[in-house]
Amino acid sequence: MTGKKTKGSQDITPEKKVEMLEQMIVIRHFEQKVEQMFMQGKIHGTMHLCTGQEATAVGAIGALEAKDKITSTHRGHGHCIAKGSDIGRMLAELLAKETGYCKGKGGSMHIADLDLGNLGANGIVAGGHPLATGAALTSKMKKLGYVVICFFGDGASNEGSFHESLNLAAVWDLPVIFFCENNEYAMSGPIKEMINIEHISQRASSYGMPGVTINGSDVLEVYEATKEAAERARSGQGPTLIEAKTYRFKGHSRADARKYRTREEEKEWITKKDPIALFKKSLIDEGVLSEEKAQAIEDQVQSFVEKAQGFAENSPEPSPESLQEDVYA
């Protein structure tokens, strides 16, 4: 049930690895920027940062082909970025600007980029499972050959739609990967108290599909597991449930005193299982990356994010007329 540690997959070139690291850093900086702008009162509503979970988004989506699709969650910035979305337009969406991905109408919880195969974030926990299943059905019926990753959290695995969708995908052998980012908490609910089993991946057995638990702080392990599941899906062998153990370094959403977990626990994760630090170190150890190059990436990303902020802040507000546009096709 629990996946083996894979170190450095053969089919990942050094360039790809560095690219993955870079993506992870973009996500980290993007989330920092979002938090900062939120604190400054520039962003309203709410936000769910994926800081600490960069390896799941990047590793999983890194294993996909361009034509493949994803459905995302309320904690979806990382998925968007890994799927190739423009962070300027993402930030513009958070600022509710016309140039945002949703023309300012969706906000953080609803960013979608259908052209890139991102079928959208979802404000409803486990709301994406049936949709991902349907997108996979299209792939199968139209023989389009694409695979769908359905991202969701540990908490979502207790929703009925999780159960129904996994079963449906299994009996119809649909090319979908149910990817659980188990960050140990659903808002304040410790997953240990919300289920009576050790691994969410064990639930795969209820549907006759493979289930695996992996280290979500190890981007290459995530990549490997997803690659395998994607191959299985693409070759008509149906869905897989992947559970990646990870941790969100920040609170659930904007105001969260994090009373449900200890500062020690947080420190443990942040100092020992930061996926970016770990990956960076391993690339440096491997000789794929130098300290200087790493720093250069950081700097580059920083200015990349600043530029995105500039774009977003200088973008226009949506017009009042747009209120009633796009309700119907």
């Binding site: 049936p130 949709l131 349907g134 129904e164």
Partner: protein, 327 residues
């Protein structure tokens, strides 16, 4: 033209579109070899095969969302929900997903899905299988809502629904499935959003939906004997609602009665009545815009009580008389 039943007409609409468009398929519980709980898909499995007539597990949330996800990505699914009462299990997918995706995504997705589902009482199936909850869906921006009352309307409107690029709720009535009527053999559409004047009249306008159209037409016959001539309007689609046709009629008759099977309180009859009351017809009204609808109870099993729970021909006749005898 030939006479076929409402159920046959629904089937014919689906079959004709499926022959012409590969992207259209049906899914639902027991729709394959069983032909659906009401036999609507009878024989379709044989013609189209199990890939396009997909029998599903009993998982209303997943199958509805699956249809929506397929619609977002290029298919044009028709979902049969076995009873409209079961929408309650798929509500999130219909209301929070299908209806809103396009708007939330800034106009980027379209969700061409049709959800067909039988509603209404009269079959002795009691409280959990007899509801008329179309008002719920008509309250939700992003959905279209259709409620055909005749075989011919059902066929043309279903085709229009399938061709529409938006999520469409298509409420059939279980007591109408066996009803026969003239239906053209060719594939045709009836535009969504156009009411039909089922009977012209001068003395009072009755706006009636679904099976109440027939009860009202019966009432009209009885009233005709008393030389009372009511106009009977079937909106056919609740969203968008053809307000113009209704208002024009009321401007002529100066009296309006709205008849639905759905529970009166909070039903869509309230929307239609309020709309009339707010319109330019207000100044010409000779009587309050009135409503007849279901009583405030879950649907009882006992057939006598079940009939009492929703408007009957006699109720309509009496109400019309009352409204005409007013001042």
């Amino acid at each position: 033209m030939r006479e076929i039943t409402y159920a046959e007409s629904v089937r014919e609409a689906m079959s004709q579109v499926m022959r012409a468009d590969e992207d259209v398929f049906i899914l639902g519980e027991d729709i394959g070899i069983y032909g659906g709980a009401f036999g609507v898909t009878n024989g379709m499995l044989d013609e189209f095969g199990p890939e396009r007539v997909r029998t599903t597990p009993i998982s209303e949330a997943a199958i509805t969302g699956c249809a929506i996800g397929a619609a977002m990505t290029g298919m044009r699914p028709i979902l049969e929900l076995q009873f409209s009462d079961f929408i309650t299990i798929a509500t999130d997918q219909i209301v929070n997903q299908a209806a809103k995706l396009r708007y939330m995504y800034g106009g980027k997705a379209s969700v061409p899905v049709v959800i067909r589902t039988p509603a209404g009482s009269g079959a002795g199936l009691a409280a959990q299988h007899s509801q008329s909850l179309e008002a719920w869906m008509a309250h939700i921006p992003g959905l279209k809502v259709i409620q055909p009352s005749t075989p011919s309307d059902a066929k043309g409107l279903l085709k229009a629904a399938i061709e529409d690029n938006n999520p469409v709720m298509f409420y059939e009535h279980k007591l109408l499935y066996g009803m026969k009527g003239d239906v053209a053999e060719d594939s045709y559409t009836i535009p969504i959003g156009v009411a039909d004047v089922k009977k012209e009249g001068t003395d009072l306008t009755v706006v009636a939906t679904s099976i109440m159209v027939h009860k009202t037409l019966e009432a009209a016959e009885e009233l005709g004997k008393e030389n009372i001539h009511i106009e009977v309007i079937d909106p056919r689609t609740l969203v968008p609602l053809d307000e113009e046709t209704i208002i024009k009629s009321v401007l002529k008759t100066r009296r309006a009665l709205v008849v639905t099977e759905a529970v009166k309180r909070g039903g869509y009859g309230a929307e239609i009545a309020s709309m009339i009351g707010e319109s330019e017809a207000f100044d010409f009204l000779d009587a309050p815009v009135s409503r007849l609808g279901g009583v405030d109870t879950p649907m009882p099993y006992n057939p006598t009580l079940e009939k009492m729970a929703v408007p009957q021909v006699g109720d309509i006749v009496q109400k019309v008389r009352e409204m005409l005898n007013r001042a």
